[in-house]
Symmetry: C2
């Protein structure tokens, strides 16, 4: 089953009556609609011609300044001149591949890794090198052994999609030491870092190795994804290549959207807004954990395994050995729940008994119903 087949199956699950734990969407109740409306109105009153005209490929200067300031507050000192605004951080991945990948060159990725990154890199025809991971993330000895000579190592350190896993401070340092030793640039993707529930994540990898790391950020999870706004921060030499690729890809990210978002966030809006998202998502996370414990916490050889994610949007479930999540999917849909099988997230040999559950767009009641249905479907596979 390839990703587009799964996409088709999941389209079927949009019908009423199905609890979809398959989505990767943020909860729309968190979108600051009124602030957007006021900002859009102001932008079109105050600077309509600038907002609607062609604009610089680099992005809107005040927004680049804002990003630099925000990253500094997170321990990453960068100049606004290193910030490239992109059409969602998905586009950042496309540009990185164009700047750094040639057909047949190697790209190292976590195992599992974000499927959208594999898709973004694919047109440049790299060979993927999966890097073995444990509960703390990518293993430095695996990185040293398998990733030397790759163009870069793509890593999502905070509440990873799909695994929910985070990389601790010590492991980040080890990864940097190893990458530096073998001359392996790092591409650090951080869409979920602000969505922490108990404690903020450690400083980014880019803060530990500025000259060797390309950093990607996004407004999709803290404001709204439908505006398609992200950014890439890169050392000077790479920045020039990314900028050239950006210009060729879509000339620039919509200036109207950049100005609207800057208008919304310029006076500290996110300091009030993001905590409300954290509270909401934490409650959902807790609900899913409770349902999983209630219905899937058998012990012994039939046990499912998972780790409670400290933030983000996803649980990653390991089914009992020998149970294929793709085979489970149609039975689960029959019983009224959808999920995403884990296999497509592996660049190398897939771990077929894994699946991803999203907890952010479904009510606690629906989560309970969905997890119960999942347990019932699983029962039929035994």
């Amino acid at each position: 089953m390839n990703p587009s087949v799964i996409r088709e199956i999941l389209k079927l699950t949009e019908q009423p009556g199905i609890v979809s734990l398959a989505g990767g969407l943020p909860a729309p109740e968190t979108f600051p609609v009124e602030a957007m409306r006021v900002a859009a109105d102001r932008v079109l009153r105050d600077s309509p011609h600038e907002a609607l005209q062609y604009a610089a490929s680099e992005g809107y200067a005040p927004l680049r300044e804002w990003v630099a300031g925000d990253l500094a507050a997170h321990g990453l000192q960068v100049d606004a001149a290193q910030v490239l605004i992109t059409t969602g951080s998905q586009q950042g991945l496309d540009l990185v591949a164009k700047a750094l990948v040639d057909p047949g060159s190697r790209v190292a990725v976590e195992s599992p890794t974000y499927l959208g990154a594999l898709q973004a890199f694919a047109p440049c025809e790299p060979e993927f090198t999966p890097v073995e991971c444990d509960g703390d993330g990518p293993m430095p000895e695996a990185l040293r052994r398998d990733a030397a000579g790759a163009r870069f190592f793509y890593v999502l350190p905070n509440f990873q999609n799909p695994s929910g896993r985070s990389i601790g401070a010590a492991r980040r340092d080890e990864i940097v030491r190893t990458a530096e030793a073998i001359g392996l640039p790092i591409v650090e993707d951080n869409p979920y870092g602000e969505l922490w529930f108990e404690a903020p994540p450690p400083a980014p990898i880019a803060a530990r190795w500025r000259e060797g790391t390309i950093y990607l950020g996004s407004f999709s999870k803290v404001l709204a994804p439908g505006l398609r706004l992200g950014y890439v921060v890169a050392p000077e030499a790479v920045f020039a290549k990314l900028l050239q690729a950006k210009q060729a890809a879509d000339l620039h990210t919509p200036g109207f959207n950049q100005r609207v978002v800057h208008e919304v966030i310029r006076d500290g809006f996110l300091r009030e807004h993001v905590p409300t998202i954290r509270v909401r998502y934490k409650a959902q996370r807790d609900a899913m954990q409770a349902s999983l414990l209630a219905h899937l916490a058998t012990s012994g050889p039939h046990a499912c395994r998972w780790t409670v994610p400290g933030g983000g949007m996803f649980f990653w479930l390991e089914l009992p050995p020998g149970i294929d999540a793709e085979a489970l999917l149609p039975r689960a849909i029959e019983r009224g729940v959808a999920f995403v099988p884990g296999a497509p997230f592996f660049a190398g040999a897939p771990q077929a008994n894994t699946l991803r559950l999203s907890f952010v767009t479904v009510s606690p009641e629906a989560i309970e119903r969905g997890v119960r249905a999942l347990a019932a479907a699983l029962e039929t596979m035994r």
Copy 2:
């Protein structure tokens, strides 16, 4: 001098006192700001969650329907399912290259051709095959001779950027017959077709050869470029590849922007609006033609040559033989006028004595001043 060097030079020309005929920007006075403001407000009141959430990679269904209807009115019958909304038509070029080009494969282009297309195709590393053109556009015998075996022929039939040239109906038919005979797909780019001054252009190439043509359109020149909205229309087999590339490139074009534009245009707004742009641009075109006649219409061996464009945004000036437009540029800037030298628009051997003049963003008085300065600069080269 490569395109980015020219870009740097042209940045210097943004200072006051310089008449820039170098731009490729539409006139901001044509942007329907009030209609946008009302539409943005309505979208954020009526469907904020849908507008701000992740959305389908194909685009917003009602906008795709609108595009299909509009194309039908222009003689091109397509199903809305063949319409892919893109982040500006520049992105359409990026997706076409990803779907159809491999490193070393050949892409045939007009001579000269749109520089942004060369840049969009470049990351896929094609070899460009320039196709010889005359005053009516690409010459069918040159196409047959040089373009056989190319992945596609990229052509901009209406008021081409940079040459201002249009392809007549008979020549379109000849091009289609030739392309069909040698099995050469056509990529037809039409950003300027609506900006006609005397008579609408003939039916698109895609209407003459639907199964062999990919068609690109844009809202940048009839509404505003800062929203980054364009579209690609493609036969089914290619559509699937374009869609996959689109998803990998930026997931989808901002849904908010798609809904705002649909809200603006749904009830026939463009039928009233576009004629006002035509009137404005025609007056500018006439002013530039008058200034060119007044200052550059010497006859004999020192003559400049040009054709009056029937629409669009550009004059293409052929300087006397042996005069290099890139050498002329610094002297022109000294005298207070900027233009874009023609050489970068050639995929093959450049015609160094050519340059492009934009007439849409500068007042008739400034056009007169600019053309006079250009003539004075040219005088120093003789």
